[in-house]
């Protein structure tokens, strides 16, 4: 039965009976127009802050920042074999800058002369400097991300003239330029934000939390936290061709089953956070189009705390790596929607790449033998923790692993940790066994290893792994990357990957996919390193 017709007749009767007033036409033509010009996105959660430079901005907040602010530069797109548009790590294109010139110890940007903020004032080098100063000063995540590109001090950003700005290097780092194309260094309307700043809030974080103050392709015109965000196109955008989509409405629908139902019934245009099973079903049903792309520089892994027995013993870690039911996880948990990272011919990599597969695979006999060699012939008891926020994937992974480890005598108790608590627990670095995901925006092997395996023991080195050899290899790769010494770089990258596999403090399971489901009439999806949607290229026919 036609739902609208039914509702129409039902509601007309109800209204006529209830109020005695003739009901007006239910679907006015204006609404139909709005529908065709509006892209409707549904997801589990929404932003808590429209500004990525704010205090504690959550991941959905990044999406608002990405679409409402311009950066100096951005990436070109390339087309993958399956037709997906994928950002090109090595090719930059101008956004607010029209020209970029790299020197030995600095990079200089010439700004577009015609670019204006959404209130009509033009974008100047002073705005750029103010914005970059802000990013390296406010603390928290934005400042951390800037430091990943060796940008830590306001003095590094120098105004050459009204439309020229130079970024000076403190150290030579090949990640400085890519780091200027991530979400954090957006360019803010400094005049407007300063006007709304206060003595206690000199960077105007409270204002940009609630309002977008950029030159980007979209602006937020309505935001009801936890409910809805409405984006309108900026008709005077200069950073690229005018987007086809006039309006984007982003609604929060907490229940995954409902999100799927909305897509299948054609009431929502795009959704990206569904369980893998739903994506597989939807693809088979063929009513909506599904794009699956592996996370760039990201893996799901099982980590072990190497500072305490029994996981301080490399043989125990190898035994665990041999007992994980990899294929079962691929089939029953991911439904094939991930790139396996196990069962390679050897632990010595052939490619200079990351992520890549290690040689371990499920082999209970070998695992038993390794465990016996390690001095635990009867196994031991331990606890395996996972983040409840991603329970759909984490819980079955842990349950299957628990069952498999029981076969070699390791008795595992599962411990689910609420999302709010997960980072606290990771920071403590005391969980003996756990599963987690790490992915880096900047897609370089040495970047991943610097944060996850280096002896500086950052938050992301969740295993507290420390090895002199590893540190030397990582350092060598970073230095040779900066100086352009390809031979050394290749050798060191292969070296640290191989060492990570032999020492195996964390067992990579697979490279997760970003899955996006769209109605057939929606096109123009682009994969970005940050994995959020870029509305600018999306078209609804």
């Amino acid at each position: 039965m036609d739902r609208r017709k039914f509702l129409q007749s039902a509601s007309v009767t109800a209204l006529a009976a209830g109020t005695g007033v003739a009901a007006p036409a239910i679907w006015s033509p204006a609404k139909a127009d709005a529908r065709s010009e509006t892209l409707l996105i549904v997801s589990e959660s929404g932003p808590n802050n429209l500004d990525i430079q704010g205090v504690g901005t959550n991941v959905p907040g990044y999406e608002a920042s990405w679409n409402c602010y311009d950066r100096l530069i951005s990436h070109e797109m390339k087309t993958l074999a399956n037709g997906t548009q994928y950002y090109d790590r090595d090719k930059f294109k101008p956004e607010l800058a029209e020209d970029m010139k790299t020197d030995d110890m600095s990079v200089t940007f010439k700004l577009r002369k015609d670019a204006t903020f959404q209130d009509g004032t033009s974008v100047t080098a002073a705005d750029v400097k103010w914005s970059l100063d802000r990013a390296v000063t406010v603390g928290g995540f934005p400042t951390f991300q800037m430091s990943a590109g060796s940008m830590t001090k306001a003095e590094q950003f120098v105004i050459v003239d009204d439309h020229t700005i130079r970024v000076d290097y403190l150290t030579k780092d090949r990640l400085t330029v890519p780091d200027l194309a991530v979400i954090v260094p957006g360019i803010y309307n400094s005049g407007l934000v300063k006007k709304n700043a206060t003595a206690t809030d000199p960077w105007g974080l409270e204002y940009t939390k609630q309002n977008t103050a950029g030159s980007g392709a979209y602006k937020v015109t309505k935001w009801t936290p936890d409910t809805e965000v409405v984006f309108e196109r900026n008709e005077t955008w200069k950073g690229g061709p005018l987007p086809k989509t006039k309006r984007v409405i982003w609604r929060m629908v907490p229940d995954a089953g409902n999100r799927r139902a909305l897509l299948e019934r054609g009431d929502a245009d795009v959704s990206y956070d569904l369980p893998n099973k739903d994506f597989v079903d939807l693809r088979q049903a063929g009513k909506v189009s599904i794009v699956s792309t592996p996370y760039s520089n990201g893996i799901q892994y099982i980590g072990m705390n190497v500072t305490k027995p029994p996981f301080d013993n490399v043989k125990v870690r190898q035994a665990v790596a041999c007992a994980i039911p990899y294929q079962k996880i691929m089939d029953a948990v991911l439904y094939g929607l991930a790139k396996p990272l196990f069962g390679a011919a050897a632990n010595a990599p052939v490619d200079v790449a990351w992520p890549q597969a290690h040689s371990y695979n499920t082999d209970i006999a070998k695992a038993k033998q390794l465990l016996a060699e390690a001095g635990y012939p009867n196994g031991f008891e331990t606890t395996m923790s996972f983040d409840l926020g991603f329970a759909v994937v984490n819980e079955p992974i842990c349950v299957l692993t628990q069952e498999s480890l029981a076969q070699i005598g390791i008795k595992v108790t599962l411990n689910k940790i609420p999302g709010a608590n997960w980072r606290t627990e990771l920071n403590k670095k005391v969980m003996p066994l756990y599963t987690n995901v790490f992915s880096g925006w900047l897609d370089y092997p040495e970047y991943f290893f610097y944060w996850c395996y280096d002896g500086q023991n950052s938050v992301f080195n969740t295993m507290s792994y420390q090895s002199k050899d590893m540190d030397a290899l990582i350092d060598g790769a970073r230095k040779s990357a900066a100086s352009g010494d390809k031979a050394t770089y290749d050798k060191d990258v292969k070296g640290f990957v191989s060492l990570a596999f032999n020492d195996i403090p964390r067992v990579p399971l697979y490279q997760p996919y970003v899955n996006v489901a769209m109605q057939k009439n929606v096109t123009g999806y682009q994969y970005w390193f940050h994995r959020r949607l870029d509305y600018r290229a999306m078209v609804k026919a």
Binding site: A256, L400, Q402, K416
Partner: protein, 301 residues
């Protein structure tokens, strides 16, 4: 929902616990015969008890054994209730879960009976500051949105079965305290208590021999109703991720997890535990109703 049943109808004020017990038994037989619904509920209760006691011994599969090759299979002769995402046998899981769910219900009710009963009797019997303290505590708890309070307690103490039991007991505390208080208060100066006092019984002894037996019937009704509520409460906690630890089978968590599979058409994962849960809650509620009829003297004819 039984949290609402605070209106306690006054019960038998007669003395002679033994006599009333025999009469109650006779009346029970009569009520169950008279009221087929209560009879069915009682039969259901027996089935649940059997599942709880011997369930793990009679199920065809291990409730924890995965078989990914047979994942998400609809009900069949091999798997009566189908299999879940990891290929675990749903029938075995549902049956084995009975023990845990019944345990959650029974222990939380026992705990709240102990806490609320003692506090309420003390308040009603002795009055004074004890009454004040108990009354205020009950008021304060009642003023909380109860489910959120339970959530808070479980989130703060950690999501273990024990803490779910404790949280359920705490949110039901006001109800038990009030009923016990009202009943004890009515009887404080009644003839049979006066008589017991005159014959030299200590206050403690009076509470144990005179007050407690007399408020038992109304408490039993309440306990039956609360048991259903305890199971629902645990299910709600599971839905927001505060339930028992995986892979332990528990109805609430199976329904909550299975709910994600309804739209994809794998209905059996949520349906069977949901049905079991519903039957159990249904059974406890109807039993409570039936028991109320038994202990309510106004309805005795």
């Amino acid at each position: 929902m039984s949290a609402l049943e605070t209106e306690a109808e006054p019960t038998a004020t007669s003395s002679g616990f033994m006599r009333s017990a025999t009469a109650t038994l006779q009346h029970a037989r009569y009520t169950f015969a008279e009221n087929p619904v209560s009879g069915i509920a009682f039969a259901l209760f027996v089935v649940l008890l059997i599942c709880a006691v011997i369930g793990p011994a009679i199920v065809p599969y291990s409730p924890l054994a995965s078989d990914t090759a047979a994942a998400l299979k609809p009900p069949s002769l091999q798997h009566w209730f189908g299999t879940d995402q990891l290929g675990r046998d749903m029938f075995s899981r549902v049956v084995v879960a009975t023990r845990l769910d019944m345990a959650i219900a029974v222990f939380s009710v026992a705990l709240v009976f102990a806490m609320g009963g003692v506090a309420g009797i003390a308040a009603g019997f002795f009055g004074g500051w004890i009454d004040q303290v108990v009354g205020r505590t009950a008021d304060t708890i009642m003023a909380f949105p109860l489910f959120v309070l339970a959530m808070g307690i479980v989130a703060a103490l950690g999501n273990t079965v024990t803490n779910i039991v404790i949280a359920t007991a705490i949110i039901n505390f006001p109800l038990y305290a009030r009923i016990a208080r009202a009943e004890a208060n009515i009887r404080r100066d009644s003839g049979f208590v006066q008589a017991a006092r005159l014959t030299g019984n200590s206050e403690m002894r009076i509470v144990l021999t005179q007050i407690l037996p007399n408020i038992m019937p109304i408490m039993v009704v309440q306990m039956s109703l609360t048991m259903g509520y305890a199971i629902l409460n645990a299910a709600g906690l599971s839905f927001i991720g505060l339930g028992v630890k995986p892979p332990t089978p528990e109805w609430g968590i199976m329904v909550a997890e299975g709910a994600g599979f309804i739209v994809s058409g794998d209905w059996w994962i949520a349906f069977f535990p949901g049905a079991a849960l519903m039957l159990a809650v249904f059974c406890f509620n109807l039993l409570g109703d039936g028991l109320r009829d038994i202990v309510d003297p106004q309805r005795r004819t």
